[in-house]
């Protein structure tokens, strides 16, 4: 299945991309997506357990992903 990953702020700087479309086996979890992303050059500095949102709702690492999901990697927030 295909999942779109979004990277913001400091995570975008680490990963080197604002968006990545990645192929994952059906039934993969957020945790497995994080591991895949962290294998990319420069992305080892990404935390092992970053906050993520799946389809714009905060989600845990064991959330099972579906084809077409949008997963945002969310650095510690600093609004206001």
């Amino acid at each position: 299945m295909r999942v779109r990953s979004l990277f913001f702020a400091s995570y975008r700087d680490l990963v080197g991309a604002a968006e990545l479309d990645l192929e994952l086996p059906a039934g993969s979890t957020v945790s497995e997506l994080i591991q895949l992303v962290r294998t990319r050059p420069g992305a080892q500095a990404l935390p092992e357990s970053p906050a993520v949102a799946v389809n714009q709702a905060y989600a845990s690492a064991d959330t099972v992903l579906q084809d077409g999901d949008e997963v945002a990697f969310i650095p510690p927030v600093a609004g206001g």
Binding site: D13, A53, Q56, P76, V77, A78, G79
Partner: protein
């Protein structure tokens, strides 16, 4: 403020977050805000709905700017209208505190020498009501 006021409201409160000129002793030229816009809008709307339904207030409105701001510019505004001021003060505080913990917005400091750095933030997550 006019947007939130109804005739039953005796208190209208406006909180404005403003870009400051220093951070921990270092002079700041400005801040650049970035947002995961669709989610930030949805989360901020949910925070406002939660506060409206759990407080004795009449209405709430909140706006956050994105992009480059200089010292003195308003980054966030929260307006509350309520029959009485006690509920207005509490609701205003709750909106800004939750915004700072939950809304996917980040800020980058711009220093006078041109150096820029992402500000450390707060690990986000849902709170009760999500």
């Amino acid at each position: 403020m006019q947007h939130v006021r109804r005739d039953a409201d005796g208190a209208v409160l406006l909180f404005a977050g403003v870009v400051r000129d220093e951070d921990r002793g270092r002079p700041v030229a400005g801040l650049t805000y970035e947002a995961y816009e669709e989610m930030a809008t949805a989360v901020l709307r949910q925070i406002c709905e939660d506060v409206l339904s759990s407080s004795d207030i009449g209405d709430v409105a909140a706006v956050h700017r994105v992009g480059e701001l200089t010292v003195g510019e308003v980054s966030v505004a929260i307006a509350i209208a309520a029959p009485h001021r006690d509920a207005a003060y509490k609701a205003s505080r709750e909106v800004i505190e939750r915004l700072k913990r939950e809304v996917p917005i980040w800020k980058r400091e711009r220093f006078a020498d041109g150096h820029e750095t992402w500000l450390d933030g707060t690990t986000p997550g849902p709170t009760a009501g999500d």
